[in-house]
């Protein structure tokens, strides 16, 4: 399949990329890993007149810890997240997520920034970033601004990014003692989108009570979803089997799946419930020191 014609731009700096976006407006699309955009262009679901390839902006590829945050450059590849020591040891939920995105070849090119900026509720990082209460840094002509993840996803394939902004960084608050997380994805086969996915992050105090809970849901709504009621229910309580089961039930109720070739809405809701239970148990075990 041959995509429509476009003019290719290969800026050498972020400023140049933003200037191009500002002057070309809605006719331009940003190309990062290209693993969603190029298939969409081949199917003529996207026909941008201009393509702004930001792969030359290698200073946007980094994983750093500083000032109480983990910061990840938007152009960081999934394969690099999968291999990162700091993510493997301290941010297991991000490792879980990157590890099950698409397949090895796609992960070599696909970027975390693209995964979020695409705004697809079927993508995996959004649920994890919701659970981690991340912040998205968007850079435009007036410099960077920070968007809380809860304000980022507006609708299907629609985010809070302005047309002349580029997603440049993810900021994740560093976990305190007693924190753990896990991402579980139910998929028919490697490389498929999730039937449903659940990211769970918890922090436990010295007596085992939950002081922080984050639960994000993949591909069970028009946008990535936060299971707010389940999070609130778990706060201040020990993560007993009963409490976890109730949290799972509430997450299932918070999901808004539709029936399609991946399963009925009822089945998907049941899977959200069960996977939330399993993700919470795994997050708890990791918070208690299990790898």
């Amino acid at each position: 399949m041959i995509p429509g014609s476009f003019e290719y731009h290969h800026p050498g700096s972020l400023d140049e990329a933003i200037a191009l976006l500002s002057s070309l407006g809605d006719d331009a699309k940003v190309l990062s890993g290209g693993q969603s955009l190029i298939p969409m262009m081949k199917l003529r679901l996207a026909e941008p007149a201009h393509l702004i390839d930001i792969n030359g902006l290698t200073d946007l590829e980094y994983i750093k810890e500083s000032d109480g945050y983990l910061t990840i450059g938007a152009l960081t590849r999934e394969a690099d997240l999968d291999r990162s020591d700091v993510i493997g040891k301290k941010y297991a939920v991000i490792h879980d997520t990157a590890h099950v995105i698409a397949d090895p070849q796609v992960r070599n090119l696909a970027t975390i920034g693209g995964n979020l900026a695409h705004g697809d509720p079927a993508n995996d990082h959004p649920a994890t970033m919701l659970a981690l209460r991340a912040e998205v840094v968007a850079t435009g002509p007036n410099g960077p601004r920070t968007i809380p993840i809860d304000d980022f996803f507006i609708g299907p394939l629609t985010t809070a990014l302005a047309p002349n902004e580029i997603l440049t960084e993810l900021r994740i608050p560093a976990p305190t003692q007693g924190s753990g997380g896990a991402y579980l994805k139910l998929e028919r086969k490697v490389g498929d989108f999730a039937i449903a996915g659940v990211a769970a992050v918890v922090t436990l105090d010295g007596s085992g009570n939950c002081t922080l809970a984050g639960i994000g849901l993949t591909n069970v709504g028009p946008t990535p979803l936060r299971a707010t009621a389940a999070e609130k229910f778990l706060l201040g309580k020990p993560l007993s089997d009963d409490n976890i089961a109730e949290g799972g039930r509430m997450a299932g109720e918070a999901s808004q799946p539709t029936s399609d070739h991946r399963g009925s809405a009822e089945y998907k809701r049941a899977m959200v419930k069960e996977m939330t239970i399993r993700a919470l148990k795994k997050a708890k075990a990791r918070a208690e020191g299990e790898q």
Partner: protein, 155 residues
């Protein structure tokens, strides 16, 4: 139609051409260079038949524009043989019957090559994970795994 002159190093040789900016890498390899060992299977980023090595990493060449590879190095199945001698992976696929129809084979070999570059002695599970972006429809995974093990042992 927007054109651009690009230079790619493919299997060790520089190739310069004026191309449409929308030309996909797989079409450049197959049509401009007549290297038809790289196959087009699904054309939708699933099957991995078009896998090539781009600057050391396995990628699906149906999902990369040629202009993105300007100035970069590509290795295709044709570049795996040196002086008429098969690469241990090619030998492994032959010795272990790692193919029936052969359509997926070039992609399987390129993904396996990338895996072995990173992990010289993979477990069976790591091999299966390494080729999880490649589909075989002759149900040949058992022997494909054996072929990769053969190559790993031969080093």
């Amino acid at each position: 139609m927007a054109k651009q002159t690009v230079t790619l190093k493919v299997n060790g040789a520089d190739h310069t051409a004026e191309i449409d900016q929308r030309l996909l890498l797989v079409h450049f390899i197959r049509e401009n260079l007549a290297l038809t060992g790289t196959h087009i299977g699904c054309d939708t980023t699933h099957c991995g038949a078009c896998t090539v090595i781009l600057d050391g990493k396995a990628v699906k060449s149906c999902t990369v524009f040629t202009v993105q590879a300007d100035g970069k190095e590509i290795l295709t199945i044709e570049g795996m043989t040196t002086n008429g001698k098969l690469h241990p992976l090619q030998e492994g696929f032959m010795e272990e019957h790692g193919l029936q129809c052969g359509f997926c084979t070039p992609g399987m070999i390129m993904s396996s090559y990338a895996l072995l570059q990173e992990n010289k002695n993979p477990t069976e599970e790591e091999i299966r994970w390494g080729i999880s972006g490649n589909l075989c429809r002759c149900t040949g995974y058992m022997n494909i795994v054996k072929a990769v093990q053969y190559a790993a042992q031969k080093g």
